[in-house]
Symmetry: C2
């Protein structure tokens, strides 16, 4: 007996498109959002797949997002693209700016894309994998809301500030990671709360800045970064690069701007793209072999490369042209339709 | 009673220059190396100050470094500078390429410098602070030798792989960090071994891949990364970006190339530079204020910004035009002179 239902891959897209267009998003926004929701669901990445439709609807109900906003793309320098999302979800701006980022990285060797004034709810790995699909190396960073304390601190200042990286492999799926710089994702703490289970040590502090394993106290207090003062420094780097560097909000400013609304946070994003052809002096094949020897040495000792479970799920789901989601999730999504 | 001796700032430079020129380094190499040794010693950063003269001499005695190598600088793309150190210490190549990196970042918005075929012994913060002194944001990465196991692994594959970042502040010393992605620096384990003290848990594994707190067993086994699988992923990113991306060695290849020699490892380095003027659309002052509000919120809760102790030491030592080093270190350095 399974509590899952099977959807064809087309059904996933149709379901996402219809929920979004019936909840205030234009056809173009719905298509851009569906691209990423579909990519995540195809990889059995449930937390960022169809489940995110609830956040998209919640964000619309908050009344701050513009579901019909048209992005404005500018090029303030030969290696810089800026995409102003004009208060839309980030993904339409991303899609429109991505070809220019790719072209700049290919011709200049290195380029940056800054997305501004966007609501952002999505995983970052689909964004850096757009670059590795083009033979480029990609790095992406976003702030979020000030839920995470700096090392040695007592309250939320930093976002969960994910960092994503993708490296193109000539014969294989890319080497990709995408992790929050908080020790836990915010949703994980919520799962512990619902299950009535204590958190591990070192994940959170209470509202007085004292260590806590109580999920309720953690939600009222602050989360901690991974890796102590080093993870905290990395998180501050992400705040600076995806915030003030590109003239956009810090996680402190983003949570203030939300004014109590839940839903996707409003802020900026930075994506860097590097061209191995130019940086290696034309020796891409030799250096692909060099990287493969590194990966082989990691795998040979029983360690795992990140994202491999996703790639296995992707291959399996593409093969059968269908995927499974929890039946209850499906029922709940149907209720989002008008 | 102090075991320190006082040196004038000029004495520090003169001592470094004379040791280096008497041990096989040309005047220009000795000057480039001394710049960084002096910068570190001025900040009371003892591990990377005059103490590193021993490593410079050790590297020369290994017979692989060219103390007179002249770097070759090329520009394979509008946003890429490549500096071939031609088997010299990295720092002369760095100094010669840095003005081109700065100019490219200022005119293009974003640029990368790849240093190739270099011996590298130095802290990375002086390199990224060269960029923040110019109003640019800097990131630097290097591999090292394969002493560090990936998360879930049993042997050394990765280097200690430091990551350095510097953010220019309009009115203050920059926000800078420079940390190894290994949990401990290799020298720290050596200090525990000499002191006969057990290591903390989670720092190292023995030669069979089992957790150990015995420093001796750790030196025969492998170190662990900070922050578990996230720190491990970050370390792999640094291997890829400072290795195969720029056509240079991984930490596995670097330790093999050393052929048992101690001294500075031989590999490459990547430095990224970003121009806030262009990325912020000309709003540097407003975004400096925004970053300062973030820093103020961190400090206000009793947390510390990295590098503050260095800046305090720098101010103190510049004020008195002198600094202190252990008397024994001074005696040992004098023995390096011919």
């Amino acid at each position: 007996m399974s509590n899952n239902i099977t959807l064809s891959l087309d059904d996933v897209k149709t379901l996402s498109l219809s929920v979004l267009t019936q909840n205030g998003y234009s056809e173009t926004h719905a298509a851009a959002i569906t691209d990423v929701i579909y990519a995540c669901q195809l990889d059995d990445c449930h937390s960022h797949g169809l489940f995110r439709l609830f956040m998209c609807v919640d964000t619309m109900q908050g009344g701050q997002v513009d579901g019909h906003a048209l992005p404005t793309i500018t090029e303030p320098g030969p290696s810089v693209v800026k995409a102003d999302a004009n208060k839309g979800i980030s993904l339409l701006a991303l899609n429109e700016a991505m070809p220019r980022l790719v072209e700049k990285a290919k011709t200049q060797g290195m380029a940056a894309l800054a997305i501004n004034n966007c609501f952002h709810f999505s995983a970052l790995w689909p964004e850096v994998e757009m670059l590795s699909q083009q033979g480029l190396v990609g790095i992406a960073m976003v702030p979020s809301h000030a839920w995470v304390a700096p090392a040695g601190g007592t309250r939320g200042t930093l976002g969960t500030n994910p960092l994503a990286f993708s490296w193109p492999r000539l014969e294989k799926d890319p080497f990709t990671f995408d992790f929050a710089t908080s020790q836990f994702a915010r949703g994980e703490i919520e799962l512990y709360r619902r299950a009535g289970k204590p958190l591990p040590e070192g994940v959170a502090i209470d509202k007085n800045g004292k260590p806590t394993t109580d999920p309720e106290a953690a939600m009222e207090g602050a989360m901690l970064t991974f890796g102590g003062y080093k993870g905290s420094a990395l998180s501050i780097m992400i705040e600076l690069m995806a915030g003030p560097l590109i003239d956009d909000l810090t996680s402190l400013e983003s949570i203030a701007a939300a004014d109590g609304n839940t839903g996707a946070p409003y802020h900026g994003e930075i994506i860097l793209a590097m061209n191995p052809e130019m940086l290696s002096g034309g020796k891409v094949a030799q250096n692909d072999e060099r990287a493969e020897r590194l990966f082989a040495d990691i795998i040979d000792q029983g360690a795992r490369l990140p994202s491999q479970r996703r790639y296995q799920a992707r291959a399996r789901n593409l093969e059968r042209n269908a995927l499974e989601i929890p039946a209850q999730l499906y029922q709940d999504i149907l209720k989002l339709k008008g």
